[in-house]
């Protein structure tokens, strides 16, 4: 391995010892809500692009990591209105379009209740390697969108029904 790029090493309680190029560090100037003191993260893709899910892993705390995903993969109509105060506050219109992610929660005792936070998405400005969690004050996207059930659907009516293995789409 050549020593051309400075790298940074950090520990992960989930993935062990990690090392990434320093230039890949993502700055989160305002922090993730509830974790404002942590400002440096790395984007991890343990499957090498195979999975819908990525990890946003804090470089400065081995325990702090979020599963994130592109919301358009499971909510095709998801959009952020340009009238949102945070869009204006972050001058989004004057920068290259950010990549959009949402934080995903997988309850350990019931993984089928996997849900995504659609009301507070993440904007990743790849050109400046910065990421912000914003809050959509004017929208009514759910705080917990259940991926395997769909919003507002009866959890007993859909999803894990082994009796209908032939169902496609």
């Amino acid at each position: 391995m050549t020593e051309t790029q400075p790298t940074i090493r950090f520990k992960s309680s989930r993935f062990g010892d990690l090392e990434i190029p320093e230039e890949k560090i993502i700055r989160v100037p305002e922090g993730i809500i509830g974790f404002q003191e942590f400002k440096r993260y790395a984007l991890l893709d343990p499957t090498g692009g195979e999975s819908l899910f990525l990890w946003l892993h804090c470089v400065d705390d081995p325990d702090l990591a979020f599963i994130i995903a592109d919301p358009l993969a499971f909510v095709p109509g998801y959009r952020i209105d340009s009238s949102e105060p945070d869009i204006d506050r972050l001058s989004v219109a004057r920068k290259p379009a950010p990549a959009l992610f949402v934080i995903v929660t997988v309850p350990p005792d019931d993984p089928d209740r996997i849900n995504a936070n659609l009301i507070a998405p993440l904007l990743f400005f790849e050109s400046e390697n910065s990421l912000y969690q914003i809050i959509l004050e004017n929208a009514d996207w759910p705080l917990r969108y259940f991926l395997l059930e769909g919003e507002g659907s009866d959890p007993n009516a859909t999803g894990c029904d082994p009796a209908s293995p032939g169902e496609v789409l």
Binding site: E30, I32, V106, P108, P111, D112, Q133, L143
Partner: protein, 77 residues
Amino acid sequence: MLVLSRKKDEKVVIGGNIEVIIVDVKGDTVKIGISAPGDVKIYRGELLEAIRQANIEAAMQPAPDLDAIAKKLKPQK
């Protein structure tokens, strides 16, 4: 905590550049208007707290079997 009584159309000024005005009072609902510099974050308190709780829950989780979950998701694209 500072507690002030205000009537409709009266203001509170915070830090010289943030103004809070009582727009309307109806029953137990108070409508307020806030003028602040563009870089000031203004959120409803209960929404911010709900998001904070959801984030904490999301961060606490052990690494789940994401492959198994992804297989259950119906393709939508």
